[in-house]
């Protein structure tokens, strides 16, 4: 099972993961062009208070409450990754109501958005993982 683990100990609170996430999901080819002048809507968020910071992204739970609670069937598990069919999602936010990590979030389109480990973009390492300068976000395989 693939999932991201977050090493709070190494999180610098630099927020680069959010920008790499937003860029990865923007479909653009140049970060500057893709993100210039906009307020980014990343699929993972840094929580920060004083010296403590950490990223929160979908945990791709073994028992994903969001998937089970989804009223439209637009959330599903594909190869261990909780994915959303944003065409189908009506933005009822039942998933927002049940996700214990607060990792499902509204998007501007009304449909929800969430981390899909960059599987929609290209297989491999999620942008937040490769973009983290300090190994605070790690992709785990198996387990």
């Amino acid at each position: 099972m693939k999932r991201i683990t977050v090493n709070e100990k190494w999180c610098l609170g630099c927020h680069l993961c959010e920008y790499y996430c937003a860029f990865a999901n923007s479909g653009g080819e140049d970060m500057a062009k893709a993100l210039k002048g906009i307020t980014i809507q990343p699929r993972l968020r840094i929580e920060q208070a004083g010296c403590i910071s950490f990223a929160v992204a979908c945990r791709h739970c073994d028992t994903p409450l969001c998937v089970k609670s989804c009223i439209t069937g637009s959330l599903s598990v594909r190869d261990g990754v909780v994915c959303v069919d944003r065409e189908k999602c009506v933005g009822c936010y039942t998933c927002v109501m049940v996700c214990p990590y607060g990792a499902v979030m509204p998007s501007e389109s009304g449909a929800i958005q969430k981390c899909e480990l960059c599987t929609q973009r290209s297989p491999g390492i999620p942008a937040c993982v490769s973009g983290c300068p300090n190994g605070a976000i790690v992709l785990e395989n198996g387990g």
């Binding site: 999932r3 991201i4 683990t5 977050v6 090493n7 709070e8 100990k9 190494w10 929580e47 920060q48 208070a49 403590i52 950490f54 929160v56 945990r59 409450l65 089970k68 609670s69 009223i71 439209t72 069937g73 065409e87 189908k88 009506v90 933005g91 009822c92 936010y93 039942t94 998933c95 927002v96 109501m97 049940v98 996700c99 214990p100 990590y101 607060g102 499902v104 979030m105 509204p106 605070a136 790690v138 785990e140």
Partner: protein
């Protein structure tokens, strides 16, 4: 092993997926009195509104029954259960044997005791796709619509119809909208919002009499309508169990394994009565997440696994004409107001536990609050002030976060 499931909505589908997570090969027969592939009932208002279509309303992909090796019998009503011989009898007279039976019969619209209701020119309920289709086919921009019931179904119906430009009045005996899901303050915020969008409300008022195109209220005032929608709550479909001599009028009783008092028969979803852990009361919590989870647990147990559904609480996530509302649990105990501008937020605390919450406007990360209720997290183990301000994992202890997020 042969499984029979009555009902093709969330609880029934949960049942199929629960069974198949344990038993890949047992025979599954599913009966539904509707003619459709499984669809999401809550989406009928979106359908009405034109925000979705029949295809997108499919609760599961097209190949669902085939992939899960389910024999779906559509448009077939189960008339009775022969529990002794483990058979269900269909209204055609035919019967089907079962080893394990899941009742996921759902609910039906309640009919309020209003004088002359049957005289209404056009009377609708708003529970099924057929209801929505019928309503959609008849409503016109100049229609006058009276909706009886300001609960979730009534308001969603109002939202769905408002897209057509028709004039809408919502009436309820209760003094506020969404009386089951919101407190006074929240309800008035929602009401105000919908009124700004042109919906009229007549609350705290009782219809005394209905004639063809007119509803006359107890105080003598009247509202004329072309279309009358009755959305005054639902009743569980429990006749099959009642016929077996069970006391199930107010919902089928099940244990935490979703098993009824009759051996081999399980029940799940809106037809079931169970314990709300936030209040400790037994009630029907007719919401989709509960239906699915309960159906899934039933399926697992039917197939020989062991899964209990122990965290049912009432909860609602709804968007009404752009206003986001999420509430969960019971609104009892000490109230904590933490709303900011343009948003409403209330947390209810009792015995060092979060019992319920209401969020209107800003609903992000509400699930963290939900998890505090269902997980019965003692509030003195977290930074509750922080948590009150924003639902956030920062409020947990470092080791608690580590457990949640993995890593160091």
């Amino acid at each position: 092993m042969k499984y029979v499931i009555v009902g093709n909505s969330a609880a029934g589908i949960g049942g199929v997926e629960g069974i198949r997570s344990v038993d890949r090969s047992g025979e599954i027969v599913m009966f539904t009195d509707e003619p459709y592939h499984t669809y999401s009932r809550p989406l009928i208002s979106y359908y009405l509104q034109g925000k979705t279509d029949i295809e997108k309303m499919s609760y599961r992909p097209e190949g669902f029954y085939c992939d899960n090796n389910v024999r779906l019998e559509r448009g077939v009503k189960v008339a009775a259960i022969d529990a002794e011989n483990r058979r269900v009898v269909l209204d055609s007279g035919a019967s089907e044997s079962y080893d394990k039976l899941l009742l996921a019969t759902g609910s039906r619209a309640a009919t309020p005791p209003i004088d002359g209701l049957e005289n209404a020119a056009l009377l609708f309920h708003f529970l099924t796709l057929d209801d929505a289709k019928a309503l959609k086919s008849i409503v016109a921009p100049n229609s006058r619509v009276l909706i009886v019931g300001a609960g979730l179904i009534g308001l969603k119906c109002a939202e769905g119809l408002s897209a057509t430009g028709c004039s809408i009045t919502v009436t309820d005996i209760a003094g506020r909208v969404l009386s089951a899901a919101l407190d006074e303050g929240g309800a008035s915020m929602v009401q105000r919002h919908m009124e700004q969008q042109g919906i009229r409300f007549r609350l705290n008022d009782r219809i005394a009499k209905i004639t063809k195109n007119r509803a006359t209220f107890a105080g003598g005032q009247h509202v004329d309508f072309d279309i009358l929608v009755v959305a005054a709550g639902v009743l569980p479909n429990t006749e099959l169990m009642c016929a077996l001599g069970c006391d199930a009028q107010r919902g089928i009783r099940v244990d935490s394994l979703s098993q009824t008092e009759v051996p081999g028969i399980y029940a799940a979803g809106d037809c079931v009565r169970c314990c709300d852990i936030s209040s400790g009361q037994e009630k029907i919590m007719a919401i989709l997440p509960n239906a699915y989870l309960q159906g899934e647990a039933a399926g697992v147990n039917m197939a020989g696994g062991n899964k209990s559904f122990e965290t049912p609480i009432p909860m609602n996530a709804v968007t009404l004409m752009g206003l986001r509302v999420i509430s969960a649990g019971t609104f009892a105990g000490e109230e904590h107001n933490a709303g900011d501008e343009g948003a409403y937020k209330k947390l209810f605390v009792e015995d060092n536990l979060l019992k319920g919450y209401i969020l209107i406007g800003h609903v992000e990360r509400a699930g963290i609050y939900t998890s505090l209720i269902t997980g019965k997290i003692p509030l003195d183990t977290i930074d509750f002030d922080l948590m009150k301000a924003q639902p956030q994992l920062m409020a947990f202890s470092r080791s608690g976060r580590q457990k949640m997020l993995g890593g160091q």
